[in-house]
């Protein structure tokens, strides 16, 4: 493994790990606040129970999100000093604003988690709202950085490859900014909302405390389902921006070789890079032209229009895109179904089949997120900043990068396993306490 590949792998693993906790950190505070608000409004104790149960899990997941995010901010220098040297002054501004959003988040999370009996009801609820807002804001800012890497603006290029005349504010309004921030925030609510709904649906199928889980399911669906329905629309918007601003990425994710009008859409299939053709795909005539430009006669550039040395790894990008879209469509379908049942029968728990379906799609939002980021990041290769800085020029000169890569991989695999076991036992704890009818408060946690 070359040092460059090791660095890329370490970055990918660190980000792939962090993003799960980040999404949860964006959406869980909203769910907690909604539950608490329902409790304060209705006096229904099950909502309060729910808010405290969710808070426990969130405390664990949030801490892991915070430490893995710290790793990322150092890794920008540990792995990609050449990138930071050039891009630091421009992407540093959104990163700094993100830093303040983190502060808001962390401060009020402390107040929220540990302040139940120390601050007034109104302050407590407000703290929760601030945590939720801080999470969404920080995600927005960090995605602006990524959007800039995809579609850099706000500078002139000097002869030595450095940027002059930089304008970080213009840099934050890059062409991909709106598309990516919207898609990312919806992803966080869709993935987390549908996953929480899935867990509670499964507990309901198993016959656990209906009062608690029904409320949990409704709240989680109220957050997750609309986002899941909107996500394919937002994805279509993303694809159109990509078509306009990153034609190589579009060609790779669709595995389109030939430049043509009435370009077909490939569903599934396997891109054969050597022969420059896509096998076994279902083709929808003019589908791609229609999706990417909303015009069946639009011309779509194929990979052959670009020199080979700027092709991203086509197979990975194409497959990841198929996975995201498949997962997205499945989620949207289940979300619509839930909406229909809620509208027609006023009670989503009345359909056992729906419950099973919701339980079945539990992980899909996170799967789609990972896949989507692979499309975005691998699809940008060989560039770290599109058209400007090659990834190979940005990597650290330190040799032996395979060692830190393996170390951090092992660390994250272990940590991920421990977190999974812990969350599972917190869920089981909730489940068993309610099935035995014991609703008394838990033991001291300290």
């Amino acid at each position: 493994m070359t040092d460059l590949l090791a660095a890329r792998t370490q970055m990918a693993i660190s980000l792939g790990f962090h993003i799960v906790f980040a999404e949860i950190g964006i959406a869980m505070p909203l769910l907690m606040v909604l539950a608490e608000w329902r409790w304060r409004r209705t006096g229904d104790a099950a909502y309060r129970e729910l808010a405290t149960r969710w808070a426990k899990g969130t405390a664990v997941l949030f801490a892991v999100g915070a430490v893995s995010g710290t790793v990322l901010s150092f890794e920008l220098g540990l792995l990609w000093p050449g990138f930071m040297r050039i891009a630091g002054p421009i992407v540093g501004i959104p990163f700094s604003l993100e830093g303040f959003a983190f502060f808001t988040e962390a401060i009020f999370l402390g107040v929220y988690l540990y302040g139940w009996n120390r601050v007034s009801a109104r302050v407590h609820l407000t703290a929760g709202v601030l945590v939720a807002a801080g999470g969404a804001t920080s995600a927005g800012f960090v995605v602006l950085v990524n959007a800039w890497m995809n579609t850099p603006v706000g500078f002139q290029l000097a002869g030595d490859g450095r940027l002059t005349g930089i304008d970080p504010i213009v840099g934050m309004q890059s062409p991909a900014a709106l598309e990516q921030v919207l898609h990312m925030l919806l992803a966080a609510y869709a993935a987390t909302g549908m996953a929480v709904a899935g867990v509670h649906a499964w507990l309901l199928v198993r016959g656990g405390a209906p009062a608690l889980h029904r409320r949990a399911l409704m709240l989680a669906l109220a957050v997750g389902a609309p986002a899941a329905v909107l996500q394919p629309l937002s994805g279509d918007f993303s694809a159109r921006v990509v078509a306009k601003t990153q034609p190589v990425k579009l060609a790779a994710l669709e595995s389109e070789w030939e430049t043509m009008r009435r370009a077909p859409l490939h569903i599934g299939g396997w891109p054969d890079v050597k022969r420059e053709q896509t096998r076994w795909a279902i083709q929808i005539p003019a589908g791609l032209s229609l999706l990417a430009f909303h015009d069946p006669n639009a011309e779509v550039k194929g990979l052959r229009a670009f020199p080979r040395d700027v092709w991203p790894p086509v197979v990975i990008v194409h497959l990841a895109f198929q996975v995201m879209v498949a997962a997205g469509l499945a989620l949207a379908f289940v979300a619509l179904w839930a909406g229909w049942v809620a509208w027609r029968r006023h009670d989503v728990t009345s359909s056992r089949r729906l419950l099973m379906a919701v339980a079945l799609v539990t992980p899909l939002g996170f799967v789609a997120t990972e896949a989507g980021w692979i499309v975005t990041e691998v699809g940008r290769q060989p560039w770290i900043v599109q058209g400007l800085v090659r990834t190979s020029a940005a990597v650290t000169p330190m040799p032996g990068l395979i060692v830190p890569m393996l170390t951090f991989t092992a660390l994250y695999v272990g940590l991920g396993a421990i977190v999974a076991v812990l969350i599972a036992s917190l869920v089981r704890e909730t489940a068993s306490r309610h099935t035995t009818g014991d609703t008394s408060t838990a033991q001291q946690s300290q």
Binding site: T70, P81, I93, S96, T104, A106, I107, P397, T407
Partner: protein
């Protein structure tokens, strides 16, 4: 140290040190908490540990963000400095990150693992051990920068890349700058200072008199240890980093800072002796801050001695201005919020509740 020119780069660099100072006083003390977790002794052993846990739980994540702010401000305003530190100090920074990950995780796992006490005790031990290793590495990183070894290695690396023949291998560029006597002593000094701060804060936070006395005794011992380590640092500087020592003791500002540091140290010991808790806390924080600023003054005008001066390694003025504006707006939100957080959890009462569980 001669005249000080103050322009945008110096102002931003100053704020970076302020953030680092805030991190030392808050996040640093949280590391110190881990030290006392490990060293919990005597009849009130469990109560000591519980106090550490209760004092840290609501605030450690907010405290930790100061470090992130330091990193972010550094790469925004001094990208080349950040890049160079990332290259030369890759190994200790990576080890520090592993420490940060394990410590934060172990701390929450201990609080929330629903399994039995023995599992929780294991998490507690991991939390304590990583609380010692991590700030030690942070201190080593600072020591490596201050001693001039990082700048030196960076220059040799550049020479290697320019194709000049050299005998520099991996160890001489990526290991020796930080694995050396002076950085090791600064590492231990950082750890001692953090343990000292934590003991003072815990004495203030305790609501039980016996517990408070436990931490008063620990604070006094730690105060002595800080003095010893600071002395050791001066001796080591004389041998390994004479430039640092010359500026540390060189007239003007530097000596004033040294004098003030000594005064704060004495004030803290006196306050602990006479049980004036609030005063002890202020003096302890002052002492640690002054040691930090002493280093900064000694190193001025260098970010990395001999290669990166504040003036010549900063980002363009637009970036610095925007960063300062961001800081102003951010601080207007941040400082009242932080004050509110600390006020709400000032006393780690035994009735403190976790997640609303009575």
């Amino acid at each position: 140290m001669t005249g000080v020119t103050v322009g945008l780069p110096e102002i931003v660099a100053g704020f970076i040190v302020v953030a680092l100072n805030a991190y030392a006083l808050t996040g640093g003390a949280d590391f110190g908490g881990g030290v006392w977790e490990l060293l919990a002794r005597g009849p009130r052993r469990d109560a000591q540990r519980a106090l550490v846990a209760r004092a840290l739980a609501p605030i450690w994540e907010a405290n930790h963000v100061w470090l992130i702010l330091v990193v972010v401000m550094l790469f925004t305003a001094f990208p080349d400095v950040f890049a160079t530190l990332g290259i030369i100090l890759h190994v200790p920074l990576s080890l520090m990150l592993i420490g940060i990950v394990l410590r934060g995780s172990a701390f929450v796992f201990r609080s929330y693992d629903p399994r039995d006490d023995s599992v929780r005790r294991k998490w507690g031990r991991l939390f304590a051990v990583t609380s010692i290793v991590t700030p030690g590495l942070l201190g080593m990183v600072i020591g490596a920068i201050a001693s001039g070894a990082v700048g030196d290695a960076a220059r040799r690396l550049a020479a290697v890349h320019a194709g000049s023949p050299s005998s520099d291998g991996f160890v001489s560029i990526y290991v020796r700058p930080w694995l050396a006597p002076f950085p090791i002593i600064t590492g231990v000094l950082a750890l001692t200072m953090f343990a000292f701060l934590a003991a003072v804060y815990l004495a203030v936070a305790a609501t039980d008199d016996a517990l408070r006395e436990d931490f008063r005794r620990r604070a006094l011992v730690a105060a002595g240890a800080v003095l010893v380590m600071a002395g050791a640092g001066l001796v080591a500087a004389d041998v390994y980093a004479p430039d640092v020592l010359r500026s540390l003791l060189g007239g003007g500002w530097a000596s004033a800072l040294q004098l003030a540091t000594g005064a704060a140290a004495l004030a803290c010991i006196a306050a602990l002796w006479t049980r004036r808790w609030q005063l002890a806390r202020v003096a302890a924080a002052g002492q640690v801050s002054l040691i930090l600023w002493g280093w900064v003054a000694a190193q001025y005008p260098w970010m990395i001695p001999s290669t990166h001066a504040i003036r010549t390694s900063s980002a363009p003025a637009v970036t610095l201005k925007l960063l300062l504006m961001g800081l102003a707006v951010g601080a207007a939100i941040l400082l009242p919020s932080l004050a509110y957080l600390y006020r709400t959890f000032a006393r780690a009462e035994t009735t403190a509740m976790v997640n609303g569980e009575p």
